[in-house]
Amino acid sequence: MHLLWAIPALPLAGFLILFLTEGRLPRAMVSNIGAGSVGLAALLTGYVAWQFISSDSTSFTSSSWTWMIVGEFNVSFRLWVDALSLVMVSVITGVGFLIHWYATGYMSEEEGYSRFFCYMNLFVFAMLILVMGDNLLLLFLGWEGVGLCSYLLIGFFHKVPEFGYAARKAFVVTRVGDTFLIIALFLLFREVGSLEIQEGLVYARENMSDASTINTIICLLLLGGAVGKSAQVPLQTWLPDAMAGPTPVSALIHAATMVTAGVYLIARMQDFFMLSQTAMLCVAAVGLITLLIASFTALVQSDIKRVLAFSTMSQIGYMFFALGVGAWSAGLFHLMTHAFFKALLFLASGSVILAMHHEQNMFKMGGLWKKLPIPFIAMLVGSAALVALPLTSGFFSKDAILLKAWKSDSDFATLFWTVAVIAAFLTSLYTVRMMVLTFFGKPRSEMHELKKESLWHPSRIRTVVPFGLLAVLSIAGGWMGFEFTSDLFGDKGVHAEFHFDPIALLTLGVPFAGVVVGYFLFASDLIDRRRLIKNKMGELLSKFWGSGWGFDWVYDTLIVKPFRFIAQTRLNRNDVVDLFFNLIKFLANLFHHILSMFQTGHVRWYAFTMVGGLLLVFLAVVWI
């Protein structure tokens, strides 16, 4: 498949052009290069996908060149596309293109327009390398690349110090996970003797036993890496703060693609995980815990983007959970549908925020549905998919996960299923709350002087097209999708068919129950909401949930503050490490003084020492 290399090469070319011109290009050209390169990559992906489906082979490869050879260690720059990567590549280029398109309108009044698209293109390139690389080292290259771009784009508005802090936090916290990942790679190399993914999978299938301890350790370390990247408990604290970035960034990086890299990693290393019951259980547990924590937290947020951030965390929790109970294709399917509807939700919220003059507090919105009809409809569609109302894409994927969880042969199947269903209920609750606060009720702020010529100016009408396409995908993405991913892993079992048994009915009914309860809680006057919150229990809970279950506080107290204390106090001024470096300084100074004594300025003295030295060498040669 000789065109495969062009898919990542196009965004790379876009990045290079924008990087080297340093913002000297006119904006129209920047838009064309930035969005166009990803668009072309999307078209090419479509062509590759069509070829893939019509051909009999299960994978395409494209070798370019050898990256490095160190002894036995051989890394080639080979791209590998099978059904799993193809799903990822389609999401990255397809959804990525729509978001780029939207961003040409959204960012048009911001400074650093060219810089923005430069970073975005670099991100798409790195993400494509991550999913297409046939070597774990190549995957790691992309993994770090997307981390870098995430850092650059969270801190895009670099004049606000808090945003810079959020960017550093995201970078440092994910770095913890990356450390686990690289240790996993070391161990894998020691076990398998190669970092080629396919070779490793074959090795795992043929040579490893079920009870292999080293395999479990490797899987847990891989899980650690995935947890950091995908913002799962306990490394989830960076994602809400990452919302400091521009909204298209939140949509692309922190909802649709980068945060799902962890899911991809685990799915990619499936054969290793299948061998270890412990690791699978851990994956499911991490997913479920995140799911619950994030759902509760999303219930009490006031910032619309933070609600979506916690919602993203919980949906990725679903994916981890699905992988953990062995519903591989369902998890990946949810990854795809989630990319559609969460990107749509983020973009719609971005339009709302822009129309409200960068106001993100939902309590200052309200009654917006008449004034912003198109974002409202987009958000409605996205929300329907998020709460998994029937016939939306989210329904098919979430239903598949829940059914598969119920049928899984794990000892904890019932418990898992129950928790997941409760979380589905919570999902509808916070989604209804978000919609009600933002779009319904009375306007709660004076800031409602919507900008003329805002998003609906003819020149910006292009933002509507991404809305439309993403909305269509959010609905219809479920109808065609599952067939595509279902035979990825050979588990043809669960389709989201309508079974007439109580479990399926319950799964089907829970979102509706959530919506109805949410309506009574947040929209109707039947329940006095104030009385619900204004008591000790309510205040405590909302504070506890609102702070993300106190994780930030714990890390702050346990790690950040002690570290700052050690770094800033005099305790550390002349510590052991400094002693060593002071010694180097002292020795350099000493030798300098000694040597400078030899430089007398007497030329004949120099000549004499030269001759003397020569004589000494001669004598030494003669005698020895």
Binding site: L595, S596, Q599, T600, G601, H602, V603, R604, A607, V611
Partner: protein, 105 residues
């Protein structure tokens, strides 16, 4: 080609050593820059002589090639050194090398 060398190699080397030592002592003892340069030239010619003699002894062209290099080196050296001498003479109005002790550590 048979060597037409009737003088023994040792004698030539002995001459070269004497020339070299004369030059070396000249560099060490003389204080006038011009004479120091002359002494350097003598040292270089001593090397050249040794090369040529050795090349003739083993019938190899290398000795003469090396002498070409030495000639080129000497020409370059004289160009630079005479420039320095002119500057030196203008600045200190003398040719005594011991006056140039300002550049010390």
């Amino acid at each position: 080609m048979t060597t037409a060398l009737s003088i023994p190699l040792e004698h030539v080397f002995f001459l070269a050593i004497i020339l070299f030592l004369i030059g070396a002592f000249g560099v060490l003892i003389r204080r006038n820059i011009i004479f120091m340069l002359l002494s350097l030239e003598i040292m270089m010619n001593a090397c050249g002589l040794a090369f040529v003699a050795a090349g003739a002894r083993w019938a190899e062209p290398d000795g003469q090639i090396m002498f070409m290099f030495i000639l080129a080196l000497a020409a370059a050296e004289v160009a630079v050194a005479l420039g320095l001498v002119v500057q030196f003479a203008r600045r200190f109005e003398t040719l005594d090398i011991d006056r140039a002790e300002e550049l010390n550590g």
